[in-house]
């Protein structure tokens, strides 16, 4: 925690902080001027004044106009060739403003500010500004940590957990699995009941072949939601793959557990893709054991339940072909080739990052943010309404 925003805020004393901020800001801006970069030469006080007006805009007019104003200020501050030094200096100036607000308002005032910076991430990504997007992410996540740590309330934990989960999901989309997992871990630290974060930690671990560790998180998740079909399915497939790499008699019990779960899911009324994958993995396990006739029986049962599923048909074609039943295999092949194009396969859905509920949670949080706007309005009431750039 030493290098986090929280630590910096906690360490800063009002009088010393002002001196430090002016000094840091001065250093930052003189560095910008000296390098001849195109960032505007604004005094630290001016920067803080304008940031305060961004927050006032957020409190009074909502997130969209505030984002535009924040975007204009930050772009002006960092210039066309943003450097890490400038961003760090800017960051510190903004923290100074936030700290001043916090001196007079309850900690919940952070919620709209966190959401502003959360939304700024998407705003900057859309504009192709990766550096400011990364800055927005750092602001949002570190403020979320501060909020949960200081507020010590279940609601604060949920908010922090959600913000961190949201960024975990963003990084997953960029295939940055390590960074994504770190955010999910931070989310779970504040909110151990954050199911989405638990599931996605397991997904990330599964993707890098750490099945045993994925199992730990899935079991944790299933304690919270024993019937969660995605978690049960992943637990079963991870268990089977763990057994693949450690064959032996001692594995019979976990194998049985995995197969029982797959059978249960296959016969359930869960989504088609869940049932399809359950049947597929069950059948593949039977095939590996050389139980051909049982596998065929199972696949025919599966196709009775899911007649349009192409991957189940491919498994059966493969089995029939190896059994030298070419005519039957070819008839099934013709079925696969009929009625194209096919949709998304069950295995592709399984491989997609499970982010269901994330957008809904965002909408809820944006709505909940409104309740805290009055705090922010009070905290920024001395900010000028209009500021030229």
């Amino acid at each position: 925690m030493q290098n986090t925003l929280h630590a910096r805020l906690a360490r800063a004393r009002p009088a010393a902080r002002r001196v430090a901020l002016v000094a840091l800001g001065g250093l930052l801006l003189s560095a910008a001027g000296a390098s001849g970069a195109s960032g505007a030469v604004l005094k630290p006080e001016q920067v803080q004044k304008r940031y305060r007006s961004v927050l006032a805009e957020l409190a009074n007019s909502g997130i969209t106009p505030a984002l535009e104003r924040l975007g204009a200020l930050e772009a002006e501050m960092v210039g066309d060739t943003p450097s890490q030094n400038r961003i760090v200096g800017f960051w510190k100036l903004k923290l100074g403003v936030i700290r001043e607000i916090l001196e007079e308002q309850p900690i919940d005032v952070l919620v709209p500010i966190i959401m502003l910076h959360h939304e700024a991430y998407g705003y900057y990504m859309e504009k192709g500004n990766g550096i400011l997007a990364g800055h927005a992410r750092t602001m949002a996540t570190e403020l979320a940590d501060v909020y949960a740590d200081k507020a010590r309330s279940p609601q604060a934990n949920v908010v922090a957990g959600w913000v961190l989960t949201s960024f975990g999901a963003q990084l997953q989309r960029w295939r940055a699995l390590k960074g994504s997992t770190e955010f999910y871990h931070r989310a779970v630290k504040w909110d151990p009941s954050n199911r989405l974060a638990l599931l996605n930690i397991a997904v990330n671990l599964e993707k890098v072949g750490q099945y045993a560790r994925a199992i730990e998180y899935l079991e944790q998740l299933l304690k919270l939601s024993p019937e969660d079909p995605a978690a049960r399915l992943r637990l079963a497939t991870c268990r089977l793959r763990t057994l693949d790499s450690h064959p032996g008699d001692s594995q019979e019990i976990p194998r049985r557990k995995a197969l029982d779960a797959l059978a249960d899911l296959a016969h359930s009324d869960e989504a088609d893709w869940v049932r399809s994958v359950a049947y597929q993995e069950w059948a593949r396990d039977l095939l590996r054991s050389g139980r051909t006739s049982e596998t065929e029986k199972l696949l025919r049962e599966a196709l009775g339940a899911l007649p349009a599923d192409r991957q189940l048909k491919i498994l059966l074609v493969s089995l029939l072909e190896r059994s030298r039943r070419r005519s039957e295999a070819n008839a099934l092949l013709d079925e696969i080739k009929a009625r194209l194009p096919a949709g998304v396969s069950a295995r592709q859905i399984y491989d997609t990052f499970p982010h269901a509920g994330l957008e809904e949670a965002r909408d809820n949080l944006l709505a909940a943010m409104t309740e805290r706007m009055t705090l922010l309005a009070a905290g920024t009431s001395d900010a000028p309404v209009e500021l030229g750039s």
């Binding site: 991957q311 005519s327 998304v344 396969s345």
Partner: protein
Amino acid sequence: MRALWGALALAACAMPVAAAEDPAIFLDYPLGLEFVSGPVKIEAGVIGDDPVRIVEFQVDGKPVVRFDRPPYRVIVDVGWENVEHEFTAILRTRGGLEVSSSVRTPRLRMDDELKVELMQLYVTASEGERRRLDLEREDFRIVDDGHEQKIVTFERGEVPVTAVLLLDCSLSMKGDRLEAALAGARVFLDEMAELDRASVMLFSDNLQGSTVFSEQAADLEPALSEVIAAGGTSINDHLFLTLQDLERQQGRRAIVLFSDGADVHSVLGMEHVLEKAQRSSSLIYWIYLAEGAGADEVPSYSSSWRDVERNKEEFKLLRRTIRESGGRIQVVQRPEDLAAAFKTIIDELRGQYVLGYYPSHRRNDGGWRNVKVRVREGGVDLRTRNGYTDW
């Protein structure tokens, strides 16, 4: 054959005068009395005063060859399934008349099933960068499972081919890559010779499009329009299905796979595809779009189904499958080079030898048989499959 043809001709001559003037076509082979499988000789004779414009042979309703002059004779691989086949010879005269003759061969009773399969090897010979198409039957030696084999059929050059263009249209192919690949596929289709046949299969994590087999590029090219890159990638599944599909086709068979090779969603492992390829005789060519990667580099990627190490194993197995089929990997670094890659492959298919032999020591035990093909002349490199599963 001569005797049979003579008898039929005499019979025809014994008819009234008007009948002798009419054109007629007679199938000499096959006779229609026995089960046939594998390569089958089809031969026909023609009588009549009206000059021949074209003679076409069809097997099971599908055209396999056309002639504008005698001899009307060809060897066609009808596959190994125990099924009936219908052989038809059609004569079209310059005077605009059309006559035909058909025979139907029976399926084998199951208790009579025999294993007397002709093994065919498709061989590419080259010397340095130059392709060699001047070798004779006597120049080749085939050793199957350590036993020297007698070459019973020998063809070279313009041997018709039946090809499947198996095109990856997953999301990773979006933009220039897919567009260039589709353009390349069109080049391949446009370069097809008269008796060549092809089909197009488009896949992502699921099969997205498929055509029938056709000799006409115009029948196939619409499938290459308005293709959208989307979804995951299942190379193994679709390579397996294509190998299976091609077994139903006659003659020399080839698959031209276009992909970046990153299978992430297949339900079948590549080991299943390798086994299938070892049981089949199709050549597999892979146009590997390896932008930024070295030809021998094994890319790193993972999915929920396989981690990086497992995917690397799959990738290596894919390369092995291609090599063992007798095909090869054409590495392409830039999308703009894809059209040339497709052209190179159809050119290569144009210039191969087809060597046929009956393996002298078949055991049908599912075991692997190494095959070595050698050529007398030094400095000539040969590429063909390195064996087969004897089952």
